[in-house]
């Protein structure tokens, strides 16, 4: 009997995930015309969201103490992070579809961890164009603003993008876990995931208190764009927060993932009926 044995090297360990992801990418790009159309529509959504901010600045000169160029930096950071997370984790908050199709049961029959299988079961390449909008906004924001560049500033941009990506990714996983419990779960979790994205692309100084409680602390959206951007711009954070609070972005990401993994774990236990 050809009993298969667990692989040992990292390359071998990644083989199952690589195989699935590569097939998803090939399948999405194999119909050129349709893929181009997908990219275009995704680009349009990104542009419209950016235009929304631009329209606001037609009536005002600053929002939450930031001018248009500065808000562009906040938007660029948060939107790039969200788009990348949406591309690679966005399907996680579509769990009811997986449950209905029995795909999750099929995952149970494969020798990989469930969550890793779910995450690597799909990738939405069409969202690349959306990420391009965020990346452009970020680049423009970094160029036109008066930033006192130093190695620390470069590091901050890198830390902010990676942490922001991880924070949004964690939100999607949290949503997936919650959808094990919620009927029509996507409706409920969307309020946080997409509401969070929207909040993150605005200066958090305009948020009211309840919004701060949710998106400043519980889902730390303020750390995906606003707080790192303030540090880059040399602006003092509101509410007497310390100057370097933007550097806490990785902690915010870790905090989100702690909730995400807890949510996923409880969700899976609920599904299996093991209590919890």
């Amino acid at each position: 009997m050809a009993d298969t044995v667990p692989p040992t090297g990292l390359r071998d360990r990644l083989r199952p995930y690589r195989a699935v992801l590569a097939s998803r990418a090939r399948s999405q790009t194999s119909y050129r015309a349709s893929f181009t159309l997908d990219l275009a529509s995704s680009l349009l959504i990104g542009v419209v969201e950016l235009a929304e901010i631009w329209v606001l600045f037609h009536s005002v000169t600053e929002i939450g103490g930031l001018d248009f160029a500065q808000v562009l930096l906040v938007f660029g950071l948060a939107d790039l992070c969200f788009s990348l997370a949406d591309m690679s984790f966005g399907h996680c908050d579509n769990l009811p579809t997986y449950l209905r199709a029995g795909t999750l049961d099929v995952f149970y029959l494969r020798p990989q961890p469930l969550l890793l299988q779910l995450v690597t079961s799909d990738i939405s390449l069409r969202r690349l164009s959306r990420a391009l909008v965020g990346a452009t906004a970020l680049t423009v924001g970094l160029v036109v603003n008066d930033i006192a560049w130093s190695p620390a500033h470069v590091l901050m941009v890198i830390v902010a993008v990676i942490s922001g990506y991880a924070t949004f990714a964690g939100m999607f996983v949290w949503a997936g876990g919650a959808q094990f419990f919620l009927i029509e779960g996507a409706e409920t979790t969307n309020a946080f995931v997409y509401g969070g994205r929207y909040a993150a692309t605005q200066p958090a100084s305009v948020w009211n208190r309840p919004l701060w409680a949710v998106f400043g602390f519980f889902f730390p959206m303020a750390f995906t764009g606003f707080l790192p951007a303030l540090w880059l711009l040399g602006i003092e954070p509101p509410y007497g927060l310390p100057d370097g609070v933007g550097w806490c972005a990785p902690i915010a990401a870790a905090w989100t993932w702690a909730w995400a993994l807890l949510s996923w774990r409880l969700g899976v236990r609920h599904y299996q009926g093991g209590g919890g």
Binding site: M1, A19, V106, Y108, P111
Partner: protein
């Protein structure tokens, strides 16, 4: 190393459940009540057996399978599959079990069949050599060469089912669980699939556990039958025993050249009905006691036979009779 594994596990049952029970809490209007899907199931299945697991819809078959494969946690009792605890050792167990769900697909609908196999080989960490050898074997024995390059969504039901079976067996599992594998297939496709499973079992010693509504599956594939009724084990034994218990008979339907008096005197048969003044007659016979050929020969002595069909015992009917015999 492989031989050692076999030696070590030879004495270990491939499935062993003790008092296995699964309850569900369901909302019934405003109240919540508990439904027992599987009730105190104690079963031991040895390596190499072929077991038919039959019962009405909602009798608890799927719930049992989900507990055997680690998808559901039992409410009470214990279960080991391939010597492993399904929930705790799910990932190790996945390397030894293959499951074919008639209703859900293992394949990627937008990819060619060949590509799905390649991904599954990666998922099960098959070496390139093992992958090619096994894929070639399955493609040949399931006659899939013609549609290997087609996307799964373009396959006929029969082709898709063969691809599903191959997908579940690609990693040469010790235990194969098939949930309604022949549902919706035509006679020829069913026969092909059954022949494949028989051969697979013979060459690899694979243990088969299948749920089905098709008595033909049970007769041709299984040497042991478990009947489940409302979560409880109602019968555990072989097919002749089942037939003895419930008298599951086949029916020979003959169309005769001329109206004939009721054929009541044929050995080992029971005359059921006549139509058209005796032009069409139905004779029930026990497959253990005689054969369709013998009955036909005996009928031919009385009248000229123009046409005939043999009706298999209906599995629902068998199950119903078992249920009835258990409920005074």
């Amino acid at each position: 190393m492989t031989d050692q594994t076999n030696d070590r596990t030879a004495s270990v049952p491939i499935i062993e459940t003790t008092g296995l029970t699964r309850e569900f809490r369901v909302r019934d209007g405003l109240h919540r009540r508990t439904v027992v899907a599987v009730d105190d199931l104690t079963v031991r299945i040895e390596p190499g057996e072929a077991v038919g697991y039959i019962g009405a819809n909602g009798a608890g078959k799927s719930t049992t399978i989900k507990m055997l494969t680690g998808i559901l946690v039992p409410s009470r009792g214990s279960v080991t599959t391939c010597g492993l605890r399904p929930v705790q050792d799910r990932r190790r167990l996945a390397r030894q079990v293959g499951v074919v769900f008639g209703q859900r697909s293992q394949l990627w609908w937008d990819l060619p069949v060949r590509e799905s196999f390649r991904i599954l080989a990666a998922i099960h960490d098959l070496s390139a050599a093992a992958e090619h050898e096994r894929t070639d074997e399955l493609v040949e024995r399931l006659e899939m060469a013609d549609f290997l390059g087609q996307p799964v969504r373009q396959l006929s039901l029969g082709q898709r089912m063969r691809a599903e079976v191959a997908a579940a067996l690609l990693h040469s599992p010790r235990l194969v669980v098939l949930d309604e594998p022949t549902i919706g297939l035509d006679v020829l496709a069913k026969q092909r699939l059954r022949e494949f499973l028989v051969a697979e079992r013979r060459t690899h010693g694979t243990t088969l556990l299948l749920t089905t509504h098709d008595m033909g599956d049970v007769e041709r594939l299984c040497d042991r039958i478990l009947v489940i009724d409302r979560g409880r084990l109602a019968y555990d034994g072989d097919l002749p025993g089942l037939s003895r218990t419930v008298g599951a008979e086949r029916v020979l339907v003959v169309d005769l050249a001329a109206p004939t008096p009721d054929l009541t005197g044929i050995a080992a048969t029971r005359h059921l009905a006549s139509e058209g003044g005796g032009l069409r007659q139905r004779l029930a016979f026990d497959a253990e006691a005689t054969t369709a050929a013998k009955v036909l020969a005996a009928v031919s002595d009385h009248a000229e036979v123009l046409d005939l069909t043999v009706e298999e015992p209906d599995i629902e009917d068998v199950v119903r009779r078992i249920y009835a015999s258990r409920r005074p």
